[in-house]
Symmetry: C2
Subunit: 110 residues, 2 copies
């Protein structure tokens, strides 16, 4: 079986991006306020380049946007990625509810 292809790669990138504590922290911070990449880098015990890579991963996953302002690159939260992830998990939750419904039906008719 080949699962879906095009869409799957996006979803992979999305959850992959969320699977790192530093990246999740970045997402929270830039949702509340604006940060430059170096402003973010100052917060963590790792190199600027490492943080830069994390931001790039988040950007490709649509969890964050970057906008050039002078020599700085301003990072902001991107609601799109988060909404997509939530919708995905909602679909899974719906499968659970269907299952619960079927079980209830069986109990009712039995």
């Amino acid at each position: 079986m080949v699962v879906d292809q095009l869409r799957d790669a996006d979803v992979d990138r999305l959850f992959q991006a969320l699977a790192d504590a530093t990246r999740r922290d970045i997402v929270r911070r830039v949702t509340v306020g604006e940060y430059s990449v170096s402003g973010l880098a100052a917060l963590y015990d790792m190199s600027f380049a490492a943080v830069q890579k994390h931001v790039a991963v988040l950007e490709r996953a649509s969890l964050v946007t970057k906008e050039k302002r002078g020599r700085e690159q301003i990072v902001r939260g991107n609601h799109e990625g988060l909404q997509k992830a939530r919708r995905l998990l909602d679909e899974y939750e719906a499968i659970w509810r269907q299952r619960a419904g079927r079980i209830a039906d069986i109990l009712a008719e039995g």
Copy 2:
């Protein structure tokens, strides 16, 4: 900054587990019905051992459970992991809503 540690590793595992199309497909299937590991393996174009590893990753993330029945290992969906992931993303959504609230306040007072 060190983000949180103990809890973070769990969350990492959870989203990491979701960041693979085959594993997401397994989650959907075993939520609807029961499958043995070899029953699952028959569905995908990869070795039994590969599927076995995917199931192990999902089990460690609390997205599925395994139960021995005779010589088979029955895999079922585990709601716990999904709920945890959804709650996590709900927290992020809450940050967006707080932000929207602050912006509305500023507009109202201005």
